[in-house]
């Protein structure tokens, strides 16, 4: 389906060119950049030349032949989409001859097209219909008895959209969108000539095919051949609200297209600077959870977790919450309570939760789920560069020559950015993948990494140090950059360290499992291949040396001069929509918004003045410390907004024990999540569709979240926190999240110029947005590092204590899959389960054979921490000795297995390395059965139970 009420200039903008060209179109002089098509030049002037195969998202194709024009001095009727303007060209877009030709083409189209427009799902939003009108077609003289495709069967296999080949005009926009935009190449034209038809893969139907359901084809379709089922069901949208996706850290902007109060579809917004009009299956389609019957809409309380829930009024729930926290603090002390902010919520909501804790609870016991994902990024990058964030914007990848992906799986985890990366790779950039697993970027259709370094989980620092060893010992370091931008003495110390023979690729190969020659070649390529950019994910951070790895990455980038311009940089791929934002907002126990330590008197005074209370100068507890303290009896109450720590945090037994030891656990969430099994108060949350606010994505881009519909639960999350604060006696009077942002801006220098007004005006801002850079900062450290000189930190490889042995001979590592998101709370409640209905354990054929396992067998997965069962997937994607699983399904409880080892600097859990054993099994483990029973009991709701 086409974009409604968005202008489509027909062809892409001309590649950057300083030169302009003037020409005459229909008598007017038009001046456009050199390389612009006639079609685009005309559209910029307001003349819409008829078109069907052209769209400004795709390369000009020239197949529909509606856009023919006349050019003085040129024979024939060139297609305006594929003909670039030239100086002095004289173009006519309308003439009797052109009108006749266009009608002739349209007559052919309509001779093989259904005629029941009035009952078509795309009625009113169909380019074919529009163009038939535009060219003035009145009759089809061929009649309707000729050969046609009107009997073709519909493909309804995809849960979100239908394909009706009878309505297809074979413009190839879907095929081209899949190739050019998404980069999956799942669609093709089958056959040739009149028999040409669009098919998925080898004519397999969309669902079984290679299609990843990103929706680009549906968006590209000019008719209703490809159309969202929701449009068919509900009708064409009549308005659209631009908002920001609440899934991953890419931060795609979408048009929420509405019909009345009903959301019809989410369509990626062309102007979105993070996604440039692209989307993935989650953001585009998986929003049905917002109306899922599992959603809890009324507050509930209970005295103890073995009781059923009791629905109460908001007033009662809020008053009860406040009195419980006051009671517990009175009994156990100020520091006996705390809270957890959510990377899923808005900046404003996150800011309010940490404010509630610092101002209302009077301590710094606030932490966020970023603890378990990107806290080492914060530590590592602020230590080396001075800023706790990635250095680039996403556009930067278009200027990269060598891309190194470490411990990230962008095609699954950050698919929209992965598509842009793949576009650059198809243009010739080269790729280095450092990952224990053969992810799709290593080798998949049209992508072939130059080097894959399949390291043993847990050896990141050794591998990066060996790369640095090559750079330094082979004289590939960028000395000019280092002398200008870094501290030379620190560099020299570091260089001497990495140059030690025992750090060489050869010396560490046995340890890392990476062949030395490959590692050397990769290092040389990165150092000498032009603009080198590093993208990394949780495979870097979620280790006992997560912070060291981040610093090793920063060292490598500085040593090769790859910081401070487009195309380079160190780029964490953030897992959740607002990880960056929640960290920025002061969600960590040791720092206020803008990463300022609580012990800093000036900052504290600023906040004390603004908030009218004295604030605790001592750092608070991190999540694992809170749980420890709870088991020890010193921590008694926890306010959790939008996070499911029981499922997402490591060593589930430890989490469960901690939660069980508390007197009051408040969960604010959409669903009765796993953590809520241990909760005493449940405050129903609102979805991103139901509130205003902002998210900050992985490129530090602050984007508006706009309310599309009223909260089903009655309140936006920020309102609920405000009610709690007011009940605690705090004088909060926010009437709109923009006022919260104003407070953030006033208290946070890097946000100084951020306001809703500015965001409305510019679409988005990348912090720092200061007086010096009022429009934000796409690329950081351009003229110098934020901390002054870039700091080389000697990061020594310290092996994890989690080791394989006779009992646990395999290493488990974990990750994500495209169709599911995080703990699956949302995506499991959508049709995305069609692609991934359960977590599977990937195991190498060799290891499987040794254990007598066949593909699909139930297996028991055991570690020192616990045991679970799931089904095996035998694949050589993983190396022998390594097994892999996802953690999207609570039934699996992969975190029963993971241990509480963690990053030395930040306590970010070591999710990525667990020694395990795998053996045949015939069903759920004892724990799984017990857990299922407990969960069922804990989820009882009295009003239902009474019926």
């Amino acid at each position: 389906m086409a974009w409604i009420s968005e202008t489509d200039l027909g062809t892409k903008p001309a590649p950057d060119s300083a030169r302009t060209v003037s020409l005459r179109i229909d008598g007017d002089t038009v001046t456009v950049p050199e390389g612009t098509s006639i079609m685009r030049a005309a559209a910029l002037r307001g003349t819409n030349i008829p078109k069907l195969c052209a769209t400004d998202r795709l390369d000009a194709f020239g197949s529909c032949r509606l856009c023919l024009v006349e050019i003085e001095g040129r024979a024939g009727y060139p297609a305006s989409c594929t003909t670039p303007v030239t100086e002095g060209m004289v173009v006519r877009t309308e003439s009797a001859k052109l009108a006749k030709l266009r009608r002739g083409v349209m007559e052919l189209y309509i001779s093989d097209h259904p005629l029941d427009c009035l009952t078509c799902s795309a009625n009113g939003d169909c380019e074919l219909q529009d163009q038939a009108g535009a060219v003035g077609l009145r009759d089809v003289r061929y009649g309707y008895d000729g050969a046609n495709h009107l009997q073709a069967a519909k493909d309804e296999s995809n849960p979100y959209f239908d394909f009706d080949p009878a309505k297809c005009i074979v413009c190839s926009r879907c095929v081209r969108a899949c190739d050019e935009v998404q980069g999956t190449f799942a669609l093709t034209i089958d056959g040739s000539g009149f028999g040409s038809k669009v098919v998925a893969s080898a004519d397999e139907g969309f669902l079984p095919s290679e299609c990843v359901s990103c929706g680009a084809c549906v968006q590209a379709c000019p008719t209703s051949a490809l159309i969202e089922k929701t449009v068919t069901d509900i009708g064409t949208p009549d308005r659209a609200i631009v908002t920001t996706c609440a899934y991953c850290g890419v931060g795609c902007t979408f048009r929420a297209e509405m019909r009345g109060e009903q959301l019809v579809r989410m369509v990626p917004w062309k102007e979105g600077k993070a996604n440039r009009g692209h989307s993935c299956v989650k953001g585009r389609f998986a929003w049905g959870y917002a109306n899922h019957r599992d959603r809890i809409l009324n507050p509930m309380i209970r005295e103890s977790v073995d009781q059923p829930w009791r629905e109460v009024s908001w007033d009662e729930a809020i008053a009860h919450t406040a009195s419980e926290f006051r009671r517990i603090q009175a009994k156990y002390g100020t520091r006996s309570v705390g809270g957890i902010t959510s990377s899923r919520c808005t900046n404003e909501e996150t800011f309010l939760v940490q404010k509630l804790i610092r101002q209302g609870f009077g301590n710094n016991n606030v932490d966020t789920c970023a603890r378990v994902c990107h806290s080492p990024t914060g530590y590592g990058l602020s230590t080396t560069f001075g800023t706790s964030a990635g250095t680039q914007d996403f556009d930067s990848v278009e200027h990269s020559d060598v891309i190194m992906v470490i411990g990230a799986n962008p095609t699954d985890g950050h698919p929209v950015f992965a598509s842009r990366m793949k576009q650059r790779l198809r243009q010739g950039a080269r790729l280095i993948v450092v990952d224990p697993r053969r992810i799709d970027l290593v080798h998949s259709p049209h992508v072939d990494a130059a080097h894959h370094l399949p390291l043993k989980p847990g050896t990141n620092v050794a591998v990066l140090t060996a790369m640095a060893h090559v750079v330094v010992t082979e004289g590939l370091a960028d000395e000019a950059f280092i002398r200008e931008r870094c501290d030379w003495d620190e560099y020299s110390d570091w260089a001497a360290f990495v140059a030690q023979p025992e750090r060489s690729p050869e010396a560490t190969a046995a340890l890392t499992g990476v062949p030395a020659a490959d590692l050397r070649a990769a290092a040389r390529l990165f150092a000498t291949g032009g603009n080198g950019a590093i993208y990394y994910g949780l495979g870097v951070t979620e280790h006992s040396q997560g912070s060291s790895t981040v610093m090793a990455i920063a060292n490598l980038a500085m040593a090769t001069g790859n910081i401070g311009r487009e195309g380079v940089g160190v780029n964490p791929l953030r897992g959740q929509n607002n990880v960056q934002g929640s960290c920025d907002m002061g969600s960590f126990p040791h720092e206020y918004s803008g990463y300022r330590h609580v012990s800093d008197p000036a900052t504290r005074t600023l906040f004390e003045t603004a908030w009218g209370v004295s604030l605790d100068p001592e750092p608070g507890l991190r999540i694992p410390n809170m749980l420890d303290a709870a088991t020890d009896g010193t921590f008694k109450a926890l306010f959790i907004q939008g996070e499911d720590i029981l499922q997402s945090d490591p060593n589930t037994h430890h989490v469960a024990a901690g939660l069980a030891a508390m007197e009051c656990v408040v969960v604010q969430d959409l669903f009765l999540n796993e953590t809520a099994n241990y909760a005493h108060i449940f405050l129903p949350g609102s979805t991103f569709l139901e509130k205003d606010g902002t998210f900050t994505n992985a490129e530090r881009r602050i984007q508006l979240v706009r309310k599309v519909m009223d909260p089903l639960n009655g309140y936006a999350d920020w309102e609920i926190v405000q009610l709690v604060a007011q009940a605690l006696g705090l004088d909060w009077q926010y009437t709109h999240p923009s006022e919260i942002m104003d407070e953030i801006a006033a208290l946070t220098p890097t946000f100084a110029k951020v306001s809703y007004l500015a965001l409305e005006e510019h679409g988005s801002l990348q912090w720092p947005a200061t007086d010096a850079a009022p429009l934000g900062t796409p690329t950081m450290h351009v003229d110098g590092f934020v901390r002054g000189k870039g700091k080389f930190v000697v990061a020594d490889y310290v092996p994890t204590d989690e080791r394989t042995g006779p009992r646990f001979p395999l290493l488990l590592t974990t990750g994500r899959i495209l169709s599911q998101y995080n703990v699956g709370a949302q995506t499991r409640r959508t049709e995305n389960v069609a692609w991934h209905a359960e977590d599977r354990l990937e195991i190498h054929p060799h290891d499987a054979e040794n254990r007598g396992l066949r593909d699909g067998d139930w297996v028991s997965l055991r570690s020192r921490a616990g045991e679970t069962t799931l089904r095996a997937l035998i694949t050589d994607r993983v190396a022998p000795g390594v097994v892999y699983t996802t953690f999207h399904h609570p039934d699996t409880q992969a975190n029963v297995i993971t241990t509480d080892y963690s990053d030395w600097a930040t306590n970010c859990p070591e999710y990525k390395v667990t020694a395990v054993e795998v053996s045949p099994s015939n069903g759920p483990s004892e724990w799984q059965r017990a857990y299922a029973d407990q969960a069922a009991r804990a989820r009882r709701i009295e009003t239902e139970a009474a019926e």
């Binding site: 190449f185 799942a186 998925a200 080898a202 049209h446």
Partner: protein
């Protein structure tokens, strides 16, 4: 698709693909040569070859399927034991190809473009063999035959129906 009881397993296709690619970089431009080689060896492009070829050249299945179905040469089912390709382009038409086509299909007991029920012979059209001064022309199991007439057709029929 004619079921082929002796259809080799996919691993045979994968092995063949590897062998047939030898000496040639596994880039996309090897696709047509590889498909030709597979068809030469197995007689047709089996469905099961599509993912094998896609994997060998790092293409999507859609890429391979699109190419296989685009070109008339690639057959999706085995041909008959004998293959008679009759030219029906203009120069042969000018020399009586239509009559020859009628006689040939009648004599061989098969319609144009089809394989006889007993699998003995497939008759297919071809558009020009570059023998345009000496038509009507045919390729009989790869052997060119010009100036086709009833007598020559009879000899061909005797050969392929034997």
């Amino acid at each position: 698709m004619t079921p082929n009881e002796t259809a080799p397993p996919d691993t045979a296709y994968a092995d063949a693909a590897t062998r047939l690619l030898r000496g040639r970089p596994a880039t996309r431009d090897a696709l047509l040569p590889l498909l030709h080689a597979l068809q030469d060896e197995f007689g047709y492009i089996a469905d099961a070859m599509i993912p094998v070829v896609a994997a060998a050249l790092n293409l999507s299945r859609a890429d391979v399927h699109g190419v296989v179905t685009f070109y008339h040469d690639f057959r999706r089912a085995p041909a008959g034991a004998h293959l008679v390709r009759l030219c029906r382009a203009e120069s042969c038409q000018a020399r009586g190809a239509a009559t020859i086509e009628r006689i040939a299909t009648q004599r061989l007991g098969v319609t144009m473009g089809a394989t006889s029920a007993d699998g003995r012979v497939t008759v297919e059209p071809v558009y020009c063999l570059g023998l345009c001064a000496t038509g009507p022309n045919a390729l009989v199991d790869g052997r060119p035959v010009s100036r086709l007439d009833a007598a020559k057709l009879e000899r061909i029929a005797a050969e392929v129906l034997a």
